[in-house]
Symmetry: C2
Subunit: 296 residues, 2 copies
């Protein structure tokens, strides 16, 4: 196995693999039909599959085949898809467009969108609790990691803070809380869950958590930058959306130059974590680099 | 241990025990404060704790101490509390009152209520994935059972069908689907999760699932009856609420007499399941009987 493939190619190949897997999760004739249609609408919407691909890459780095990890990676994407549906709701960010298509509630109405989110969130745990080729105690730990990242101490807490931060002056500390919980927590969990498929010691797992957390922050900082300077056509959503909502972002708080500087610092700290634990992970680093240098 | 205690007393004692446990789950100083306050508002609201108590009683029936099961029972109540918050939302049933108090979104607003529900749902799985005094493979199965009961093939599917059923003529088949998914699934899961703490064979587990499912249906049929004939002061919510929403219920569909008859049939089928598997479960039966004969 070549550990230095082209990251864009790995992302594309494995992302497609995740998408195919996701497309096979729910049978065609399930009832209530509209619920499963609404869940699939968001789950199968075109996307990079960044989180599941990072999960696969983390396992691959330590010699575990992607096929073994695929069901767990799919669970992560389900949880991510739920979070987008709920974030877009009228009571939340009230977004009409997501990945270039109308948001879930615009197509299916608010009640069904709430339920499609609840359904994907709950099914993510059903999916991760199914028999996997891994020690049950490790699998329990994966479930704990995913729930922790998704829940009140993770993404839900981050979204709450984000909503409270709208139309407020806001501080760098607040923004750090939001990004760490809303975005970095699940990216960190994706790397950790992949790594849990291998028999790593706690020191290496801890380093990989730090790496995941820091590239998660880098990803979000980059996202904030693209919202200011990005090309709306490439991004498939309206840019300037954060400003419209008076969302707290680093570019608004610090300016673009300082934000670029911070992005670089966070990126370095991700690399340092791996170096300190003597982890050689060219695939993970190449993917993270690819994501942080993206233009959309 | 006396296996034939007064069911009302067992419900009260163990319900209080569950409530005390739940009150200790989230620390006082967690951030964002309003999120944890909103989660606790619903989670700690006075209630019978029927589901967790059934879970404890199922384990007790096979000699497992309640203390061992308490964390799992608490996870079930968290999932139940989330479902009430989301069901009450303006986009769903639009209820103002729950257990005699203003509903979550009436107090905290819609965005926070959605997030409090998401937080409790996700934390339920974190809670159930924590180390427990049980074989990890069995614990994984508990997580699968809870997720299945809560998700698109369970409660979420039932709520979707319920919403679709409003303001429609509706059939007994539809109503059966709604009750089985929205209510019976989690009560069945509560009994099964309790039973999974004991080393039972698959035949006994299957019988206990049937028992749980049938008493879950009985509970819901009783609830529908009380909504028509119950005393609003005792129930802590407005009666006739189902009719206001044009909800499909058995009393509307079949009349009160036929509904009483059906309740009795379901109850008998619960008992038969235990008898056929030669399960002697006086505590579970007494509790179920207590719940089905309740007047509020």
């Amino acid at each position: 196995m070549n550990l230095r493939p082209d990251p864009g190619e790995y992302m594309k190949t494995q992302g497609d693999r995740v998408s195919s897997y996701l497309a096979s999760v729910f049978a065609d004739n399930e009832e209530p039909a509209v619920l499963f249609e609404a869940m699939n609408y968001s789950l199968l919407s075109p996307g990079k599959r960044l989180r599941p691909v990072l999960c696969l890459a983390a396992a691959r780095t330590f010699g575990v085949d992607e096929q073994t990890v695929l069901p767990a990676a799919a669970a992560i994407e389900m949880l991510h898809a739920y979070s987008l549906i709920h974030d877009d709701l009228p009571a939340m960010d009230d977004d009409d467009l997501r990945r270039g298509r109308p948001t879930n509630h615009k197509v299916y109405g608010e009640a069904t969108a709430i339920l499609a989110g609840d359904g994907l969130l709950t099914f993510a745990f059903e999916q991760l609790a199914k028999p996997l080729a891994v020690d049950p105690a490790r699998q329990l730990r994966m479930l704990h990691v995913l729930a922790r990242a998704g829940g009140p101490y993770g993404m839900v807490g981050g979204q709450q803070a984000d909503i409270l931060g709208e139309r407020q002056a806001g501080s760098a500390q607040q923004l750090q809380f939001i990004h760490a919980h809303k975005t970095a927590a699940l990216i960190e969990a994706s790397v950790e869950i992949g790594a849990l498929f291998a028999e790593l010691g706690e020191d290496k797992l801890s380093a990989l958590r730090t790496f995941g957390n820091q590239i998660g922050l880098a990803f979000q900082i980059k996202d904030d930058l693209l919202d200011v300077v990005g090309d709306p056509e490439k991004m498939g959503k309206s840019t300037g959306a954060d400003e419209k909502l008076d969302k707290l972002t680093y570019p608004r708080l610090l300016g673009i130059e300082q934000t670029d500087h911070m992005l670089n610092e966070v990126w370095q700290s991700a690399l340092t974590a791996l170096d300190d634990a003597q982890i050689d992970a060219p695939l993970l680093v190449a993917l993270a680099d690819f994501v942080v240098r993206r233009n959309s």
